[in-house]
């Protein structure tokens, strides 16, 4: 962290939970923990990427910053002041200084407003009543984003998706903001247009010294645009740091899975990442300990277990596949224990007595149709630190929420060789 006392925008252990209500009394029956303890900061002029699968909570982070959702716990601070407590002129000023660009440019504009009116609207809302000045500002901005002053009288449907996103950038800039939150700003665009719009956003943010929080599921976009990146999974940040570090030397197993799920541009290299299970757990009932443990290919074995990595992983995959209800039917309905073993590539001989016994019992239970017993049997011998304790480690002084990097836990980061 730098010496500056107050970052421009800071999230401190932010939580945003949604109530799940049921029955005619609308009693709360559960809570979706969409954002569950997120902290990061953005400095003036900096670009931070927030990546993760859908359901990770990244858009809820944006909505909570903008006060479109109420924080359940923790706070958002802008120049040191808690945003939730802003009122009157201060609140107005915050709304002017933090702007949003959304994914679908078609949703961003009223079809009945000319784009001149649309871009000028925030100015009007914030009390600039001089028509000529408004017009001059709008025309200048449209030219800066590559359109022309003559476009002010045209309607949104006359523009392509990429042009509309340029107009959205112009509108976000009109109040002279310090932060732009861009939620999947180029996902709806073709790759070439996407790269044009990103280049524009990049030029503009340098010119105006605006900080950008870029929310994206597209790692290519984050790689090209951002200085730093935070990776989210089920409401939590699992890893953050400089883009060049996180995307080139990802430390958290989830970051590795995300990066290796993206197909390579080399057609002779077609291997794709394989997490233990496919399903993202329900954010209303997230797994204990490290939330990624049910899918983690680098799950740490219990202290007492000493197996080659592929064997341990096969056993873990067996357990969590059953637990997630992802067992393919042809395996679920087999009458041969061998089929179950072969499906998970579990060897006949396992060099750990308790695991070997549990696997034998569990395969028997699967064949007998008793998945519940199989899960319990496996869970009893494979319970790991990853499911008991929430990780909070650091790698080269940046946060990586994984026990593999925790000195108090046995289990070292896996190298590429270990993984195969």
């Amino acid at each position: 962290m730098s010496d500056t006392p107050e970052p421009l925008l800071e999230l401190d252990a932010l939580k945003t939970h949604y109530s799940i209500r049921d029955g005619w009394l609308q009693r709360e029956v559960g809570r979706v923990r969409a954002v569950d303890g997120v902290s990061f900061s953005i400095e003036t002029g900096e670009t931070l990427g927030l990546v993760g699968e859908s359901g990770s909570g990244k858009s809820t982070v944006a909505r909570t910053i903008l006060q479109l959702e109420e924080a359940t716990e923790g706070e958002v601070r802008f120049e040191g002041s808690p945003v939730a407590e802003l009122t009157g002129e201060d609140l107005h000023s915050f709304q002017r200084r933090v702007q949003l660009i959304v994914q679908d440019p078609n949703e961003a504009f009223s079809p009945r407003m000319t784009i001149g009116e649309a871009v000028a609207e925030p100015l009007r809302l914030h009390g600039l009543s001089d028509d000529d000045r408004r017009e001059a500002i709008v025309e200048d901005l449209l030219e800066r984003v590559g359109l022309s002053a003559a476009d002010t009288s045209r309607y949104p449907h006359e523009f392509s998706g990429g042009e509309k996103q340029r107009i959205a950038i112009a509108r976000a800039l009109v109040t002279n903001p310090d932060v732009i939150i861009a939620d999947e700003p180029t996902s709806a665009l073709d790759s070439r247009v996407q790269s044009d719009v990103l280049a524009l956003l990049d030029r503009i943010r340098r010119e105006y010294d605006v900080a950008v929080l870029l929310i994206s599921h597209d790692i290519d976009v984050v790689r090209l645009f951002c200085d730093r990146v935070a990776v989210m999974y089920l409401g939590e940040i699992v890893e953050r740091g400089a883009v060049s570090t996180v995307l080139n030397e990802p430390a958290h197993p989830y970051t590795r899975v995300l990066l290796e799920s993206v197909p390579s541009l080399d057609p002779t290299e077609r291997t794709l990442a394989r997490p233990l299970t496919e399903t993202i757990p329900d954010p209303a009932d997230p797994p204990g300990g490290c939330r990624f443990h049910t899918r983690c290919p680098e799950l740490i074995p219990p202290d007492t277990v000493d197996l080659p990595t592929p064997v341990w992983r096969a056993v873990a995959e067996f357990r969590f596949t059953l637990q997630a209800g992802e067992l393919p039917d042809e395996v679920a309905e087999t009458e041969a224990k061998r089929t179950v073993r072969e499906h998970f590539s579990i060897p006949d001989h396992i060099g750990d007595e308790s695991i070997a016994k549990a696997v034998e019992t569990a395969t028997g239970a699967v064949v007998g149709g008793d998945i519940e017993t199989a899960v319990q049997t496996l869970a009893a011998v494979t319970e790991t630190v990853c499911e008991r304790e929430s990780p909070a480690a650091r790698v080269d002084s940046r946060p990586v929420a994984c026990h593999r990097y925790d000195d108090t836990v046995e289990g070292k980061p896996l190298t590429r060789e270990d993984q195969n």
Binding site: D196, A199, I219, N248, P263, S264, P267, R274
Partner: protein, 352 residues
């Protein structure tokens, strides 16, 4: 090739009538798909890639679209001038489509099993349609198929719904699956599993015609690649040769968007697409006078690579493509290195 290709398209032209003009959405497009082969059609929206595929089975809405020329031969049957009965039979039994948004293809008020059995019954008189529906759901990797078969489309996640759509497409055991951006709406982790599923199906002998804008998806699945722009094919070849030597200037601009922020942003202009000559000439850094002549530059082979890699660009053949090929080498080197060699730290990134 010893035997005839499964699908052979020659000189296909599809026009779309708009209020003020006729758009030549597909203009003289020719390609083949062999049995068991995966052919990827790459291009941006408006390139004609979807209209091309929808023209094959006549599902392109007509009017406003009309196939005005060319031939489509599928396993010996001519489809371009086929009557509706034959088209319907081929469309159901031999060629199936899936689309970007599976929820649009699924009817929200019927259980998915009913939709699969409907597809089965439409194309064969299977007696155990329900059993077959369950086995199709299994084939596409949906766990608990026995109970899931009674669930409704909204009860499936995006990735699982796409699997259901694939199950429906497989109901008639098609020879060719036409997939239009099937993984665009899902997360990369889900996309990875869908890619594996489609690869497994083509491994079993099904042919796949895949429409996408994403070269990463192409790299992960294609045997051969067609690059389209402005209704025409501009480059075609094996996936290895196109990725090793992206030869058409348009293909190069598509690849460049993976390796850095666009250089075009500052001289941004609305691309006008001409309806003759090279369609890309107005956006092309190598454009010369000759680009305007004729219907479309003739296909010339890209000499740097072996095989049937060819390109519709005046600089090849009798011209001099050295400068373009040098850029191709540069791009190939960069994309090969994107994983290990970032575009460089500008010194501003701040390590916490």
């Amino acid at each position: 090739m010893s035997s005839d290709p499964l699908l052979s398209v020659a000189g296909l032209r599809t026009h779309i009538e708009t209020e003020d003009r006729t758009v030549r959405a597909v203009d003289e497009v020719s390609f083949d798909v062999e049995r068991g082969e995966t052919v990827c059609v790459v291009g941006e929206s408006g390139s004609g890639k979807s209209v091309t595929c929808e023209s094959l089975t006549g599902i392109v809405p007509s009017p406003p679209a009309e196939i005005v020329g060319g031939s489509i031969t599928f396993d010996g049957h001519s489809l371009a001038d086929a009557d509706q009965r034959l088209l319907r039979e081929i469309r159901g039994n031999r060629i199936a489509h899936i689309f970007q948004n599976p929820q649009q293809a699924l009817d929200p008020v019927y259980a998915v099993g009913d939709q699969i059995t409907e597809a089965i019954e439409l194309h064969s008189n299977a007696e155990n349609a329900r059993e077959r529906a369950v086995s199709l759901l299994r084939k596409v990797g949906i766990p608990n198929a026995e109970t899931r078969v009674d669930d409704y489309p909204h009860e499936f996640s995006g990735g699982m719904a796409q699997r259901v759509a694939i199950a429906i497409a497989l109901a008639a055991d098609p020879d060719l699956l036409i997939a239009d951006e099937p993984t665009t709406a899902v997360d990369v982790t889900v996309q990875a599993r869908l890619i594996e599923l489609l690869r497994r199906l083509t491994g079993e002998g099904m042919s796949l015609l895949l429409v996408t804008h994403d070269f990463r998806v192409v790299a992960s699945m294609a045997d051969r690649v067609l690059v389209m722009f402005g209704g025409t094919i501009v480059e075609r070849g094996s996936v290895e040769s196109v990725f090793e030597t992206p030869a058409h200037p348009y293909t190069q601009t598509l690849f460049e968007s993976y390796d850095g922020l666009s250089q075009r942003a500052d001289r941004y202009a609305r691309d006008q697409i001409p309806s003759d000559g090279c369609r890309f000439r107005l956006g092309c850094p190598y454009a010369v006078d000759g680009c305007e002549s004729g219907e479309q530059p003739p296909f010339e082979s890209v000499e740097a690579t072996a095989g049937d890699h060819s390109v519709s660009c005046v600089h090849y053949g009798d011209g001099n493509p050295d400068e373009i090929l040098a850029n191709a080498d540069r791009i190939a080197a960069t994309i090969g290195n994107t994983e290990s060699d970032p575009e460089g730290d500008n010194g501003e990134s701040n390590n916490e």
